[in-house]
Amino acid sequence: MLAALDQQSSHAYELTSRLAEAGLGEVSYGTVYPLITRLRRSGLLHEQSQPSPVGPARKVFSLTDAGRAALTDWLGQWKRSTSDVEAVLRSTGAWAGNPR
């Protein structure tokens, strides 16, 4: 979610569509909205009201500086974890599809 919002500010419902299109599968609004609330209260997201051409004004979310820092940290952890796992899989031969 942080990565998607860093790429482009969105409102909560639009974010569910973008995450699904990015390959995460069906992501429900009922899951995304509470998480957005948690991120906002943690200071990682900024919210801004934007008028909508169809319907009431919507809240649009974007990353704060703390949100960008958290995203950078998380990406670093993810890359380290995945490279460690990949190293193990390569050394055991499982990576190439040659298990015992």
Binding site: Y29, Y33, T37, V54, G55, R58
Partner: protein
């Protein structure tokens, strides 16, 4: 707002209201959710599919992430419920207790007269006859107990989802009784001192005294129950 969206949002509002979440907080989030669901509705997507979870689960998750799962004092709802309970008790008093008191006093008077008791001999130093006073005081004491029970029952109904409700009611029972024991004689004293005047200022003073102490007797236990761990 489309009816389908309104129905979901009203359900969410109802669940948050039951938790005691203040109106300003729940309406801000409800408007937010309504705008998003409105957009989904315009795309033709069924709202149950969009939500992906039950509205009960969604309401709880949103409340949790907003930090709303806390013991809200709900003073306003408590005092409103108490006022409704009091109004009901007063109405029952006017309709039932007053006629019953007159009937009981009359019946006891007949019995005493039949037994040969001279009711005219019950004269006090001020020259007034009060033979029926103990009967009236007993009936009004019973009415007072019923009044307190009605107020607490109304508070229990109004705050049924609130935390620490039992402790609030137990402490409220004690303090309401104490407040009545203090405020009613004082109100009677004001009446006596003013020769039972029905001037607005005097009546307002009597009502303010009784209602003010009763309100404190309800709010204080609620604050205590929420602050002091059980």
């Amino acid at each position: 707002m489309p009816a389908a969206v309104r129905s979901v949002v009203q359900d969410l509002q109802r669940r948050w209201r039951r938790l005691g979440v203040p109106r300003a907080l729940r309406e801000a989030v409800a408007a937010d959710v309504a705008a998003d669901l409105h957009a989904a509705y315009l795309q033709g997507r069924p709202l149950e599919v969009v939500l992906g979870v039950t509205s009960e689960h969604f309401a709880e998750q949103v409340a949790r992430e907003n930090g709303w799962l806390v013991p809200w004092p709900m003073y306003g709802r408590m005092l409103t419920s108490a006022a409704l309970g009091a109004a009901g008790a007063i109405a029952a008093g006017i309709v039932l207790v007053l006629p019953a008191t007159l009937g009981i006093v009359a019946a006891v008077g007949w019995v005493l007269l039949w037994a040969g008791v001279d009711l005219g001999s019950q004269v006090t130093a001020s020259g007034q006859t009060y033979w029926y006073a103990p009967i009236v005081y007993a009936i009004y004491t019973l009415f007072g107990m019923g009044f307190v029970a009605a107020v607490l029952a109304a508070v229990r109904r109004g705050l049924k989802a609130a935390v620490e409700l039992r402790r609030t009611l137990r402490a409220g029972l004690v303090l309401l009784t104490v407040s009545a024991a203090i405020s009613l004689p004082l109100a009677l004293a004001i009446g006596h001192a003013s020769d039972y005047s029905n001037a607005p200022f005097v009546v307002a003073a009597e009502f303010s005294l009784v209602l003010g102490l009763a309100s404190v007797a309800l709010v204080a236990p609620r604050a205590w129950a929420l602050r002091v761990p059980s």
